[in-house]
Symmetry: C2
Subunit: 717 residues, 2 copies
């Protein structure tokens, strides 16, 4: 069912309506009346006859007309009964304000699940619980009580009422923008972030979606939805709860699965979401992305009067990954013709006082700069808007002229201009005019730079979208019958791990190059096996009861002749018996020793919020001591695999050093893809550990494979 009847409700029941002005059940009605909500308002309270001039009903089902939405202001314990009453009436949705659910821990979670089940039975969609409410300012449907939320085109989803209040206040005081909707997402008991995202993606009143997230109930579905959504509308997200204390605070606050890791941030970015780390930048990023065309080529110019701001802006934009190309000779010449001799024109462009007598020159400079085909956007920094304040009043009129010109220039060239003005808080008319044209203006240089960078980031997102890829695990489609049989065999034996040779076989079936191992059941067989493979060899114990082979003394390496192999065989058997007397020993694996190369570690595991993820790093100290690893949510594309390899700090060791040749990056990428494919093909698999993999100048070798199966497939899938 679409959420349309919730967000465009024409009739609202206020359950828990009250005559006491301090109660939410009173304030909610008063707000709807004050904001002149045009639909029907039905107070519900068995003890009252009339509230604020409206007839009061004992139950929702007693209301005569249809009811689209119920705002429930009563405590947690009453909710179930009220939802059943709403169900009778055919109410489409409920906003549940009360806390006392999942945010209080497992007991609260149980009550929350009951409420969700009741709502599903009654076919009622629920916003919350533990929410500040919902506002659709275009419909004057204000179920929060926040005043002065200006209607506009930004959808706001927040797990913090305070953050919503902050953003709404900021919009009102510092911009011309407003909101298409505000939803206090609360505990996500029924409607989750991904479904809101889908809804606002389709909502014609919404141009950008702004989210404050403390934790996600279903991270993977959220990513899938976002990956499509972000190509059409920018999605901006602030994730908090990173630090231990922050997590404690977020946990007690929303009861969310708080504490997303680096994995989450990486995944959000892959899904095209603009991730913001600084709450000051959150509204400006949304304002800019909903108002201006993106920077399509990551290249921008800076226009300034004086050096200080230009220098700081150049530093920041560079830090943010933007390029500041040297302007073409033609562009520089045109600027030089316009500006005094002291001006600097390569980029940053410093007018050096050339605009003091006529600030409309800024528009002429902007036109010349944006005409340069290599410039994708412009940042104007410094004093614009203040010439009328600092020098002479009539200069304000010239600034207004410039604002009109620049506004039309943005539309004509379809390239953005962002403005930093230190006079922003004095509110000169020229800056208001810029905003009218969608040009965003900030008194913070850093925020202005950040806004340019999100325009560039979004330009990249739109270019790099590939419709086939979307975080979907197409469980089973890539499975191979023989692989399936290996897992079924292990399941049949009640094992939750594959044996080394089984794991290797599985990877081999999917095209990975693994060592050619032979399972021996006697010392004689081991000697015979060694004759069939390259020497020297390693012997490794094979037992479902011995997962950590080295700890059990179950591995002997570098064995070159029959005598050494026999001795090693005997040793391993003795050690294994001592380590686990009851162990079911299936034999000993004879493996050719891998030639020396660069050791890699590749692993997969399950993340609470995002499901299967993959890890990559270099063996030895790089992973173990320096924790130099890259993570991705699975599945990954060949492109992501390449980026994972490049983003570890020790990547230069793979490109070749004085003492080592470059390693086969293509082979490593392919192995990462194989891992992704194996995870996707067999939903029974919980974790894969390829450690070590040895990479060579050409090719690589998987030396050990450990695969753990889920205890209960259904629960974890």
């Amino acid at each position: 069912m679409s959420l349309d009847r919730l967000f465009h409700a024409e009739s609202v029941a206020i359950v828990g309506a009250s005559r006491q002005p301090t109660k939410r059940g009173y304030q909610a009605i008063l707000t709807l009346q004050q904001e002149q909500f045009r639909g029907a308002i039905y107070p519900v309270n068995p003890k009252e006859k009339q509230i604020l001039g409206l007839p009061c009903y004992p139950t929702v089902s007693a209301i005569p007309g249809p009811v689209d939405l119920a705002l429930i202001t009563t405590p947690a314990a009453t909710i179930k009964g009220i939802l059943e009453d709403c169900g009778q009436k055919g109410v489409a949705g409920a906003v549940i304000i009360a806390g006392g659910f999942g945010e209080l821990g497992s007991e609260g979670r149980r009550i929350e699940d009951q409420v969700t089940a009741t709502a599903r039975r009654q076919d009622i969609r629920v916003i919350g619980p533990n929410t500040s409410g919902m506002i659709n300012p275009h419909r004057r449907l204000n179920l929060v009580g926040l005043k002065d939320m200006r209607p506009g085109d930004i959808a706001l989803l927040s797990q913090s009422g305070n953050m919503a209040l902050t953003l709404i206040t900021e919009a009102r005081l510092k911009s011309r923008k407003g909101f298409s909707c505000y939803v206090g997402v609360g505990n996500e008991a029924d409607i989750r972030f991904d479904e809101y995202l889908s809804y606002f993606l389709e909502d014609p009143a919404t141009r950008a979606i702004l989210m404050y997230v403390e934790g996600l109930r279903d991270g993977r579905r959220f990513l899938q939805t976002a990956y499509h959504a972000t190509t059409q509308k920018p999605v901006i997200l602030l994730k908090s709860g990173r630090s231990a204390t922050g997590k404690r605070s977020a946990g007690s606050h929303t009861g969310a699965l708080a504490g997303m890791s680096e994995v989450a941030l990486g995944a959000f970015e892959r899904a095209g979401i603009v991730v913001i780390e600084n709450s000051d930048e959150l509204f400006p990023a949304a304002e800019t992305l909903s108002s201006l065309p993106p920077v399509r080529n990551n290249k921008v110019a800076i226009l300034a009067d004086g050096g200080g701001h230009a220098t700081i802006a150049a530093d920041f934009l560079t830090d943010l990954g933007l390029e500041l190309p040297r302007l073409s000779d033609k562009t520089q010449e045109a600027l030089r013709n316009l500006l005094p001799a002291a001006a600097s024109v390569p980029n940053p462009v410093d007018v050096a006082g050339g605009t003091d007598a006529d600030p409309s020159l800024f528009a002429d400079c902007a036109r010349i700069i944006l005409n340069d085909p290599q410039v994708g956007g412009l940042l104007l920094v410094g004093l614009f808007g203040g010439y009328g304040i600092r020098f002479a009043e009539e200069l304000a009129l010239k600034e207004e002229d410039a604002a009109h010109q620049m506004g039309k220039l943005v539309q004509k060239r379809n390239k953005p201009i962002v403005v930093h003005s230190l006079y922003s808080s004095e509110k000169p008319h020229a800056l208001d005019l810029l905003r009218y044209y969608g040009i965003t203006v900030y008194d913070s240089l850093e925020i202005a730079c950040k806004c340019v960078s999100v325009l560039a980031r979004y330009g990249k997102t739109r270019k790099s979208y590939r419709p086939k890829f979307n975080f979907v695990m197409d469980w089973g489609r890539k499975a191979i019958a023989e692989g399936r049989a290996i897992i079924d065999k292990a399941r049949g034996e009640n094992r939750t791990a594959l044996l080394e040779h089984e794991g290797k076989k599985l990877f081999q079936l999917h095209g990975a190059r693994v060592s050619r191992d032979i399972l021996a059941r006697t010392a004689d067989e081991a000697v015979a096996a060694a004759a069939l493979v390259d020497r020297p060899v390693a012997l490794k114990i094979v037992s479902p009861d011995i997962l950590h082979k080295t700890d059990a003394g179950g591995v002997k390496i570098d064995l070159d002749d029959a005598r050494a192999i026999r001795a090693a065989y005997a040793d391993i058997m003795q050690n294994a018996q001592a380590y686990a007397p009851q162990a079911d020993i299936r034999g000993i694996l004879v493996s050719p020793m891998a030639a020396p190369g660069t050791e890699l570690i590749i692993g997969t595991k399950y993340d609470d919020q995002f499901g299967p993820i993959i890890m990559f790093g270099l063996g030895g100290i790089m992973v173990e001591v320096l924790k130099d690893v890259a993570f991705r949510v699975l599945p990954i594309s060949l492109l992501s695999a390449g980026r994972m390899i490049e983003e570890i700090k020790s990547y230069p060791l793979l490109t070749g050093t004085r003492n080592t040749p470059p390693r086969d990056k293509r082979a490593i990428k392919r192995l990462l893809m194989t891992c992704s494919e194996v995870m996707e093909a067999y939903p029974d698999i919980l974790e894969i550990d390829l450690n070590p993999v040895i990479a060579y100048e050409k090719g690589l070798q998987v030396v050990d494979v450990r695969i753990i199966l889920k205890d209960d497939t259904a629960a974890l899938r």
Copy 2:
């Protein structure tokens, strides 16, 4: 001479005075008149009789009364003559506005040097050139033309007029604070940053010093001055020009030695300077540090109404290195008695609506929290200041009561409170009251957090000051006669490098453990030498003409018997002859091979702005491929040496891993100190390269020492 007569000038000559309103020489006089400067104003222009009602003089020396300060508004070419005229008159100082000096390159630098020389001869101190001027608002001495600079206690030193304008505007619009002085530092031709720093350190009107720096002419002296200054007054610095484009912009702007490295930032912090990277945070940091007591124990609490702001603040404070201790049971109980059941009290403290009816409760909470001895400061986040706006007008009065209480609480407890309020830009009276008491208020949560962190940073600075240490290179005081002789011998032979055994001897003289090497002049001597040291040995060519011994085939290692030593000796000699037929070969060094351990690299070199610096890293890929190194300006203390070791990413390799024992950190620290001492003892030394040094569980061994001498000692010292 003190700069007092400049900053407290009672008479000012305006050289280049003009009757044209667009000219600086007109505006300067007008500004002084409008601001009611109480001293004498003397226009100087040979072509005018009277300007703005004041008699005009043909030259400075023609002025009848004494002249403290000359503001020179004429072009570069005229400056020298004017300074000579000023000298005749006994003028104490000149502010030189004109550009056209060092910022234009070497020719400009030459002209600048001439001007400086003239000023010195005439005993005139110069601010600039290439400056926007100077303002002492307490004296109404405004030589810039910036209006509305409020008098106060922050001294502002800037290399960008725009940045100064930004900060002054910000102070006026967003705070109650003002400035004790503004100096446009310009090209530092005469008075440099360090001298201004010394002056404002002594200036009773100044409580904090705020600097925007693009480059320093004398970095080391600046550090020396700052190290003492920061214990008495906070010094806040924004350094820009980090990126390539930023450097280009800064370079063309001030002609400074732009592009300070990580070395600079580290050195500033060691000198106790509060380094700010984000220009938005610059004024708030200065405002807070000049208004509030520092956080003395790095531990703070957060007080909030609602979860979102508390979560974000907890994240940020943690990222910034602050601790958020769990409040004591007693404190928590006291808070629980005051607040509703839903409140969270461990820290962050969330009043959970408990202040809705009476926001003066915030003051009660603040009192309880600051009474907790483990809490060093408090951050109040969220809605304070807005209760009167959001709910009921009379709540504003309760907020005002709370503001008075909190203001007095800060004074009584001598612990800071910083406030984030999303109503800051609505300017409620309660927030103005807080500012009256010195409690700073920001509408940005991140800036409020940053301000708490600089208070903690400054608390640490005041604790860790050690008067003996101050970046002074006490050249020669630690020299040893025998060491001096080694260098003199090399100088006598016109060498700019010490031979390996000379370098080792020098380090040994200063207590370092170097390998016990013997210089052999024949193969027989080499065999005999090997008998005296531990085997195996290495042989290394000794020649002032062969600096890169390995490249020349001049090194043979792991030699165990006489035959191998003879063969190696012959090989090396042959290789050396082939490599450099004319080489002066002094013999071959016989060194015992060092036992395996962890390889280190230690080096020193000269930085353009800061003089001698030291580098530390781990040998092999860590330095060469991963560039994992730490730098410090010399000399270093044992504490700094320890921090250098800890700050490299590969530090865990020194604390012991699964395969290696911990390494002797104390020995490494001592060797870093020895390096520092050797650099300081012998000013002839340009660079030292200890590569490799092998560190063991106990002790270490310096395997190779390369010491380069300066070409011209005097020039570089």
